[in-house]
Structures are given as C-alpha cells and as structure tokens.
Amino acid sequence: MCGTCGCPSHQAGGAGRAEDPERGRVITLERDLLAANDAVAARNRERLAAADTLAVNLMAGPGAGKTTLLVATITALAGGVPVAVVEGDQATDLDAARIRATGVPARQITTGKACHLDAAMIARALDDGIAPAHGVLFVENVGNLVCPAGFDLGEAAKVVVASVPEGDDKPLKYPDIFAAADLVLVNKCDLLAHVAFDLERFTAAARRLAPAVAVLAVSATSGAGLGVWLDWLARRRARLHAAA
C-alpha cells in the first residue's frame, strides 16, 4: 500500500531513470481500466441489496424484443410485485412511454453517442428513487450485443435476450455478452415454425461460452415460456432476500 495516497502500490522509478531528462518517474498502478465504473457499480449493488430490490440488466441486439418482453412480464406480475424500469437508448423516450402505459414507473436514459449504459447513469436513477423496495428493477440496456458486456451496472443478474429471427449462431458471433450471461432468453419462439433456427444448436453454442447457463425459449407476444421466466425471477428474488 502506498503511504502517500493510499493507492495499492506506487513507487518512484529507479535513480538512473529519474536523472535521465528523457525519462520520467514511473508510477505503478496495477488498476483496472474500469475501476471507476466498477466502484460505482459496487455501490449501486449495495444500495439495491439494502432496498431488497432485484436489479436485472437486460441486454440484447436492437429489436430482439426487450421492451415487448418487459411489458408482458409486468402485465403477468400484475401488481403482485413492485416493478420499475430504466430504459437505455441512444435517442427517444419511446420505450419508457411503452412501459409507463402499463402503469409502472420508467426512467428513460438517452446515451447520445454512447453504445451502452454505465454504472454512473444507474446511480443517478437510484438517486431519483427509481428502485422499488422489495421489488424488481429492470434495466433495458442499449440495443447492442457488444458494448454493454463490459460495463457492470451493479445489477444482480445479467440476462441476454436473443430472438429467433436473429439466427442460432449469435452466441459464437458475440461471445463476450453470452459469456457474461446469468440467463439467456430466446424470444420470439412463436416464429420457430417459420425460421430455420435450431434451439439445441443455439443452446450448445451458448454453453460453450457460459457452461452452466440456463437457456429459456419464450414468446413475448404469445406468452409461451413466460411462466418459467417468472419462476426464475421469483427464485432470484428469494435468493437476494435470503442473503440480506
């Protein structure tokens, strides 16, 4: 531990180096590039746990059906569980408006040029009191299968939503996000009869990235498979509650 500043370690460069005008002194950091984001995320996680709020980070490509699935999930929970939603998009508050139409509070975050949500954006939403105590806070990340994977928000679970028309090769093409998943939902399974999509092939690919991950086929529009998804949420809420 560095005595001057409290950072894990830092040291001046060797004497010879310091005297060389072309050379500066060396400061050893050994710190994660995203240390600042991770610290805010850790704080978010504590705040959410203290409020007994299960935060679920939904990540998917554009149009996989995240918002439709959220609306169906909120409708199925039908007031039995307090729910709120944080919506991330590069522009517009269309998705937040769709959520609010169900009667549930929604906070839209527009990221402008940024391709993902970060922990500070969620911290600001928590400051505004968005997290429902003893309930579920869904975070719909920006539609993107690449960038959201690297940014911890402080969520309790990362759920990746893939959809049948996107094809069954997506896990191997976007490995980072599937490797980070605690659960994978395959949405639009009502289209399985119309699209060449092999659910077993998809599941095998997802498990090459996350060997123990559960893969659930759902349809936000027909309601198929939603019961299993709701059971999963109930188990995760119970687990969070037990840990408190």
């Binding site: 400061i27 050994e30 590039l33 995203l34 984001n37 940014f151 090459r208 060997p211």
Partner: protein, 113 residues
C-alpha cells in the same frame, strides 16, 4: 464503439493520478489487455490518440502488453491456453471451458514528468 469510453476512463484516471502525484505530463502508459477482454487493443490505441489530444497525456506512448487467454476444461480437467471465447479444449476437444485468465483490462504503470 466502447473503446472511446475506455480511452476516456483511462484519461480520467490519469488526471486523478496527476493530482495525487503532482505531475504535469504523461510520457508513457503501460496497459495489460487480455485476449479475452472486452477491448480491441488497436481500436483502443486509436481512441486514446484521438481522446488524449489537448490533455496531459497528449502524445504519450501507449504500451500494450497482451495477456494470453487461459481456461479450465470441465471435460478433462486440464488447464489450457485459449485464443478466444468459445474455443474447444486443445487436449480433449470438449466445448465446456471456464475462462481463468486473459480477461484483463489493466493500467500497469505510468511514466510521468
């Protein structure tokens, strides 16, 4: 792309270090980037060059150490080297590997003046 966010996160840390350790300029930044990390080293180097213009790190050399990927095979129990996520086990051909190394995105050290 998120490499720009990462470059900005790096610059924010450099500015904080400059205050803490009282230096005016960063001459060199040494990073360790894993083969399985969420960042492309070339894209990060480009983003850093662009984002550091007009900052204390303008013109700083970015020295990127690439850390190899490592995984544990659930099939045969071997610890193996991997090049990417979703690789098969080079020992048994199995497809269930748990990543154990090479996810780093670390700032190792700075050279400052």
């Amino acid at each position: 792309m998120h490499e720009l966010s990462l470059a900005r996160a790096l610059l924010t840390q450099l500015a904080a270090e400059a205050e803490r350790h009282a230096f005016a300029r960063v001459l060199r930044v040494k990073l360790a980037i894993g083969a399985l990390g969420h960042v492309d080293p070339d894209a990060l180097a480009f983003a850093f060059e662009v984002a550091s213009k007009g900052t204390l790190a303008a013109g700083a050399a970015l020295d990127i150490e690439r850390v190899a990927g490592a995984a544990h095979c659930l099939g045969c129990g071997a610890d193996v080297a991997v090049h990417g996520r979703g690789d098969f086990c080079p020992k048994c051909g199995g497809g269930h590997l748990v990543v154990t190394g090479g996810e780093d995105m670390k700032i190792r050290e700075l050279e400052v003046a």
